[in-house]
């Protein structure tokens, strides 16, 4: 990495740090965001294995150091069966929300557009929330008229329920894998015995055939 790019990166990080500190002091939460560097060529993909009927909420923003030229990116989100859930080109920010219909690997891909290519790597701030983290607590508070400590405790109750669900899921998966393992174990035993059996049968038939052949040729 050349010194110039390093310096630019440092300056950019410091600038962003300042912005972040300002935001933090003004009590506007940054949220649970992850930053990624989208390379100038090729795509950067993130994925997650999600069960069905789970709410997914996501928000992505391009972070740039100089305000004159903000690079744009394109984003695409696909379901495990290949359905296109979200597709946007040439944007600096965007968000998508959906409820998963099928369980599987959900893929979100980002790539820089051809217009802004040559600007190096683009930093994208991605917020990705699934399940209990994506729950809309504001509307729950409004609907049931609870606030403060009670709301916090309600959130904790939601978290405990999510943990319970996860535990059940893990237990089911473990049971599935145990079945597969025992199946494979039984199969290995059967196939080995069968292989021995086939070996004996084949060699027996060889001997029988050759004996008959030699007897026909009057060599024995």
């Amino acid at each position: 990495m050349s010194g110039n790019a390093e310096l630019r990166r440092l300056v950019m990080f410091q600038g962003v740090l300042l912005v972040v500190l300002l935001l933090a002091l003004s009590n506007a939460p940054v949220g649970d965001a992850i930053w990624l560097n989208v390379p100038p060529t090729g795509t950067k993909c993130v994925s997650e294995e999600i069960q069905s009927n789970v709410v997914v909420l996501s928000d992505y923003v391009v972070v740039s150091d100089d305000h004159g030229h903000v690079p744009t990116i394109s984003a695409k989100v696909t379901s495990p069966y290949g359905n296109n859930l979200h597709h946007k080109e040439n944007v600096t920010h965007g968000q998508f929300a959906f409820t998963t219909q099928e369980a599987g690997n959900y893929l979100a891909c980002f790539w820089t557009d051809s217009h802004t290519r040559g600007a190096g790597e683009v930093s994208v701030n991605i917020e990705w929330k699934t399940g209990i983290a994506a729950k809309d607590w504001e509307s729950v508070a409004r609907k049931e008229k609870i606030e403060g400590v009670e709301l916090e405790l309600r959130k904790l109750e939601g978290a405990v329920e999510a943990i319970h669900e996860n535990l059940l899921y893990l237990r089911d998966r473990e049971a599935e894998m145990r079945t597969t393992s025992e199946n494979t174990n039984a199969r290995v035993a059967w196939f080995s015995i069968m292989s021995l059996g086939i070996c004996i049968v084949v060699s027996g038939s060889q001997i029988w055939y050759l004996k008959r052949y030699f007897q026909k040729k009057k060599l024995i």
Binding site: F13, L17, V20, A24, N27, P29, G31, D32, A33, I34, L36, N37, C45, V46, S47, E48, E49, L57, Q95, A97, N105, S123, E127, W128, K129, A133, A134, D136, E138, S139, V149, E152, K155, L156, A159, A162, I163, N166, L167, Y169, L170, R173, E174, E176, M177, T180, S181, N183, T184, R187, F191, M194, S195, I198, C199, Y209, L210, F214, K217, L219
Partner: protein, 212 residues
């Protein structure tokens, strides 16, 4: 109209995180070097997480060197350095606020998929607040309770990722058992048929010879 509503919903969702509840769980594909960055809002936050290498393209040898993992603080110090792992947990107290880098390095050229989960836990204390603000002790207790629950969730994410790896290994083993056994049977039969054919040819020539 729906888009506007979605925007509002998204904004509300964003604004909701008053007590920092930072979680993020993602899978990335690493070809050479990949870095994930996360902002830690206040010093003293506990950063915990784990990662598991999900795709092991190991077919013939278990000599895979593994993935190198390092955590770099905003000041540039390396907080955590692991070489050649296939998954690990990490937890540290952030010495300062800022942007933390979680970097992976893949020594081989085959891309590997990594499931990463990072959680930043913040417990409000008297330290960071202005002079005339007080921290309600019940809020502190609630935050501690939430952090304990998040620790359980972190562990669960780790177990989920490990379970995914084991499932892949199991399914691969099952396929291999069937494939290799059927191939073995076919090969055995072909070899024995060829043997018989060869012996036939051998003896038919020599018999022809002896008739001269």
């Amino acid at each position: 109209m729906e888009r506007k509503w979605r925007k509002i919903w998204g904004l509300i969702g964003l604004l909701l995180l008053n007590f920092v509840n930072n979680v993020s769980s993602l899978s990335l594909t690493i070809t050479k070097v990949e870095c994930v960055y996360k902002i830690v809002r206040s010093e003293g936050d506990i950063v915990s997480g784990n990662f598991v290498v999900v795709d092991h393209h190991i077919f013939w040898s278990s000599d895979h060197p593994g993935i190198d993992f390092s955590i770099i603080s905003p000041g540039g110090d390396i907080l955590h350095n692991l070489k050649g792992t296939s998954g690990d947990k990490f937890s540290f107290k952030a010495p300062r606020s800022g942007l933390y880098q979680f970097c992976f390095h893949n020594p081989l050229s085959t891309p590997e998929t990594i499931a990463l989960y990072i959680h930043i836990g913040h417990i409000p204390n008297e330290h960071n607040l202005a002079k005339n603000e007080h921290v309600d002790p019940i809020n502190v207790k609630i935050a501690e309770l939430r952090e304990a629950l998040e620790a359980v969730t972190t562990e669960q994410k780790y177990l989920k990722a490990r379970d995914a790896v084991h499932r892949r290994t199991n399914e691969s083993t099952k396929k291999r058992v069937i494939g290799y056994t059927v191939g073995e049977y076919i090969l055995l039969t072909i070899a024995s048929v060829l043997q018989v054919v060869y012996i036939r040819r051998l003896f038919s020539k020599s018999v022809g010879y002896n008739r001269i």
